[in-house]
Symmetry: C2
Amino acid sequence: MTRLDSAIRRLTAQRDLLDWAVREISPAGLVLEIGLGNGRTYDHLRDRLPGREIYAFERAPAAHPDCYPPEGYLIVGDLFDTLPPFIARHSQGSAALIHIDIGTGDEDANLSLARRLSPLLESLLQPGGILLGDRAFDMPSCRDISAETKVPEGRYFVYRREA
Amino acid sequence: MTRLDSAIRRLTAQRDLLDWAVREISPAGLVLEIGLGNGRTYDHLRDRLPGREIYAFERAPAAHPDCYPPEGYLIVGDLFDTLPPFIARHSQGSAALIHIDIGTGDEDANLSLARRLSPLLESLLQPGGILLGDRAFDMPSCRDISAETKVPEGRYFVYRREA
């Protein structure tokens, strides 16, 4: 498989998974895009979930100009500075869906980041809420349901918070 | 269509077109990848054309480490500095396939670049040789055969040098 094949597979898996999650989630609850990046998946989520409140978190915004959230829905800064006040404002258990794609090339840094983020993400998820992540998170109240999706193993990690 | 849909379409069209070209080109002649970028299409070409001489041109190499050409096959520098001596060394009409993807966000700069590059690219193509470009080029000895490929209009420009 070439890198071009692999990029097509990765993006297609990402789209399939987002479309699956959109069908699965509760009609009530926030949607959080953690790591806006180029804005591609944010654009997909807002298209598939019209009228839904979608917040995007990004340390250094550099998305395509068409892919910025409306005022008040882009939260800029380090996640450990921005998530705690967000949780305080919106209360725990407010998110129906969290999509998080923030990995860098540094695997050690990624592991440490995922470990520190896990309790914050877990507290945001509502019962039945779904988290799609580009890596594993440690969230005791959630079940790893990656195998229930059809995404190739190891490309995405999918969790559902128990009721 | 979301930006995620659009990215999948763009990469799929790119792969379809490279695979088409690989079937079309003469078994003899150089392959030139102009603009190495992340190395994705270079990786695809070398996989589909094992044993073939493939040269990559790049001003500022920043490809994935796995996607670099072997020694002597990466030509670093501004194209207007590197192409003329390459043509002198390999003689005119030495390329069976040129894939060129060098556009930036600046449309005026892109047009000027394409106009200045056209005679250099044209002189490199062998009779029957194919050029796949991310934009239009002005090459009087070549026929625009974009419509013969199944790539959506305007995504790629395809030329074949007349015999």
